[in-house]
């Protein structure tokens, strides 16, 4: 089981803050994950329709979409940050 976290409009569109998901073996990279999640329902499709803008952190560290997700305890998806 992997913990998925959603923030800002990704959270609003998916309609939840977090969930535990059992990822299938064919989901190897961050890109694979975003594509796979899009098929989980309308909210996911809406949140992830432009996967290239989604920022991803694995275990609280920014990662590239090409990154492998093997060993991830926690994967967070969110829009570009607007702190400061």
């Amino acid at each position: 089981m992997t913990k998925l976290l959603y923030f800002a409009w990704v959270r609003e569109r998916i309609g939840k803050r977090e969930e535990e998901i059992d990822l299938p073996a064919e989901v190897v990279t961050v890109s694979d994950l975003l594509e796979w999640l899009r098929d989980k329902g309308d909210g996911y499709a809406e949140a992830l329709q432009q996967p290239q803008v989604i920022r991803v952190a694995i275990n609280e560290e920014h990662v590239d979409h090409r990154e492998a997700i093997a060993g991830a305890r926690e994967i967070a998806l969110f829009p570009p940050m607007t702190g400061g």
Partner: protein, 158 residues
């Protein structure tokens, strides 16, 4: 220089003078202190409040990584970053950066670098609430902020 930076992510306001004093009191090796305070603007009266969402845990961790990078780049004697979250009204503080150093250029550059990195790398998101009751939506990341970040890469490569 082995320094113990201060990083706090909190709902409550901060005290600029107390944070500066914490980096200077009883010391005689600090020649320059630069502070940056980021405040909520009302966008010409349209904005009622900003709602700042953050990723607890990662926010602190990412800011600490940014601070560590600054420490390797500039001869600082102290660094403090405080970033607020939650509901913030126009005129209120959002973020504080304090950089202390023997030299003015190092203090200016470290503070400016920290702000540029906070803007584009720290996991915070701003949602606008309008005076007329409408939800203004999520603030979009600015191209200018990404550009501001790149100048530090170039400097690093020189």
């Amino acid at each position: 220089m082995a320094i113990a930076p201060t990083v706090r992510v909190q709902q409550q306001d901060f005290d600029l003078a107390a944070e500066v004093a914490a980096l200077t009191s009883g010391r005689t090796d600090v020649g320059a202190v630069v502070t940056f305070s980021g405040l909520c603007r009302d966008e010409g009266g349209a904005l009622a409040a900003l709602e700042l969402e953050h990723y607890p845990g990662m926010a602190e961790a990412e800011i600490k990584r940014i601070v560590s990078e600054a420490i390797t780049r500039w001869p600082v004697t102290g660094l403090t970053i405080i970033h607020r979250y939650g509901q913030i009204h126009p005129g209120e503080n959002i973020v504080l950066v304090v950089a202390a150093s023997p030299h003015r250029q190092a203090a200016f550059e470290a503070a400016s670098f920290l702000m540029d990195y906070l803007k584009s790398r720290a996991p915070f998101w701003k949602k606008e609430h309008h005076v007329d009751g409408s939800a203004g939506g999520w603030v979009e990341a600015k191209e200018a902020d990404a550009t501001a970040l790149k100048r530090w890469d170039e400097k690093g490569q020189r």
